[in-house]
């Protein structure tokens, strides 16, 4: 069962806000795609609501990513440090 809104733990971290921004989606767009209220997307992003497994899988499927790339029990490292700290040779990185 999903964690009820307004409770604080256990925290399930997610990258919904980043992924949504990357794709230029509004909360309403993502809410429509997942079939939920846009407020639910906001509460998910703020960590005030933990999704059910079904909703988490649907979100991951929508972004075309494995669910562990979208949700985690531990805080995500910033994407920039993950990308640039992993030895990947990005254009303009000077390496």
């Amino acid at each position: 069962m999903a964690r009820a809104p307004g409770r604080v733990d256990p925290i399930l971290y997610n990258r919904l806000a980043v992924l949504r921004a990357e794709r230029g989606l509004t909360r309403q767009d993502l809410a429509d795609a997942l079939g939920v209220n846009y407020q639910t997307i906001g509460y998910l992003e703020r960590g005030e609501y933990n999704p059910s497994l079904d909703l988490a899988l649907r979100a991951a499927e929508f972004f075309g990513l494995p669910v562990e790339a979208v949700f985690s029990r531990r805080p995500f490292a910033p994407m920039s440090s993950q990308l640039y700290g992993s030895g990947v040779d990005w254009p303009g990185s000077g390496s």
Partner: protein
């Protein structure tokens, strides 16, 4: 319930703190009105001096009920239609909180009747005005409780993108 950002009214943007104030005022308005009336009725103070507060307290419950129902917009109803999983979880918590509040009130009212009788040997008279007041309060407030509980529980609304 899938409402869009554009359709949000001012009531739907109320902060949790404001909603909690409205919820408490709504639930306490009517019982306070009866308590206020019972306190002054039969005294030598003219009704003109205290009667305005009766209407004010009734108005608090009435206005609060309108605000709560507009905020909740059917999300406290038992039907699942139109609710997503968060809203269903919130609705269930609101009903649980309503039951807890109701159970507490029933226990306190029961204790107010039973304790004086059993502990002190007093007699307790429940007359028609008191029974009517309790019945009206329960009749008006019971349907309101889930909406008030939902407004109490829901976190602050999410801002615009």
């Amino acid at each position: 319930m899938t409402t869009s950002i554009a359709s949000r009214s001012r009531v739907e943007r109320l902060s949790r703190r404001s909603r909690r104030i409205v919820a408490v005022a709504t639930v306490l308005g009517l019982p306070s009105m009866y308590a206020w009336s019972a306190f002054w009725t039969g005294t030598s103070v003219p009704a003109i001096a205290w009667g305005w507060a009766v209407f004010a307290l009734m108005g608090v419950t009435l206005a609060g009920a309108v605000v709560l129902y507009r905020y909740v917009r059917g999300r406290a109803d038992l039907a699942d239609a139109g609710l997503d999983e968060r809203e269903r979880a919130l609705r269930d918590r609101a009903w649980i909180l309503s039951y807890q509040v109701l159970a507490t009130v029933v226990v306190l009212l029961g204790a107010a009747v039973v304790v004086p009788v059993l502990a002190f040997g007093h007699s307790v008279t429940v007359d028609a005005p008191l029974a009517t007041a309790v019945a009206i309060c329960l009749g008006v407030l019971l349907p309101l409780l889930p909406a008030a509980a939902l407004a109490w529980l829901e976190p602050d609304p999410v801002g615009e993108d």
